[in-house]
């Protein structure tokens, strides 16, 4: 501490401020605006003739998630059940959300409903959808 003599006095307000700032940062990381966000959170990836959707669905088994495809929309539906409560259960914290959910995503193009792969690993769902053969862009030869 070059600018203050507080360190010698055993109390450094700057250090205290930094500590509070760190503590606030630590507490706020990962918790920002989560209360208002939609469930499940989705990431969208686009390939050449395919699109992949990943969603975080912790606590659900593959049988509990309904995936439906129609034209260019993908719908994820299911229910997260609340943990069972016993007679003498005392809650310390309840941060995990539960209840029914349904979410529809619009995809950038029509997809082939017969050509869909869905994988589920460690609470993350990954759906890979492909563009129907007839819809793919085709190169047209120009006649000279």
């Amino acid at each position: 501490m070059l600018l203050s003599d507080f360190g010698r006095m055993g109390f450094d307000p700057f250090q205290e401020m930094r500590r509070v700032q760190q503590e606030m940062n630590r507490r706020l990381t990962g918790l920002t605006s989560e209360a208002a966000r939609e469930f499940p959170p989705i990431n969208l990836w686009v390939g050449e003739d395919s699109v992949a959707v990943t969603a975080e669905l912790p606590g659900l088994s593959p049988e509990e998630v309904d995936v439906t495809v129609q034209e260019n929309t993908l719908t994820l539906m299911g229910e997260r059940v609340s943990p069972p409560e016993g007679e003498k259960t005392m809650w310390h914290r309840r941060e995990r959300a539960f209840g029914r959910f349904s979410r529809t995503v619009q995809l950038p193009f029509r997809v082939d409903p017969d050509h869909v792969q869905a994988r589920f690993a460690h609470g993350v769902l990954e759906v890979e959808l492909h563009r129907p053969e007839a819809d793919r862009p085709r190169k047209i030869q120009i006649k000279g």
């Binding site: 990962g30 989705i42 990836w45 390939g47 975080e56 943990p83 005392m90 959300a97």
Partner: protein
């Protein structure tokens, strides 16, 4: 749209070790349910993307540290166009208010949710004190 400049956010020193992490990438505070029954303290921790091998739980005195390392999702020939979540590691530390029977802690990770059952140590259970009649 195709490529956005990614800046590394300044990392907050890890609460567990008190130092800076060597690995870059976001660290999240996992959402947790904690309930107490007569004999156990049960924790349910949401850590999507974390395989059972990636979970690390330590209990030192009364400090319980939970860490989960998510496998990085790589999509070849794909580019990300929309994101609502990021995959990263999870880290959370709890200070327990009771003594725990270390030998019979149960932990299981299923579908991205860690379930931790911490049995209360015998002396922590209610003990009735008998008064001696003189």
């Amino acid at each position: 749209m195709t490529q956005e400049l990614k800046t590394t956010a300044p990392q907050v020193p890890s609460a567990v070790e008190g130092g800076e992490r060597t690995r870059t990438g976001p660290v999240f505070v996992p959402r947790t349910d904690i309930c107490e029954t007569q004999d156990n303290i049960v924790l349910l921790v949401d850590m999507p993307g974390v395989a059972p091998e990636g979970v690390d739980i330590t209990l030192e005195k009364r400090t319980l540290a939970i860490r989960g390392l998510a496998n990085e999702q790589r999509h070849q020939h794909y580019r990300q166009v929309y994101a609502e979540y990021e995959s990263g590691s999870y880290e959370r530390v709890f200070a327990l208010s009771e003594d725990i029977d270390r030998d019979s802690i149960e932990a299981s990770q299923k579908n991205g949710v860690l379930r931790l059952v911490l049995p209360k140590a015998a002396p922590a259970k209610a003990r009735k004190i008998q008064l001696k009649m003189s």
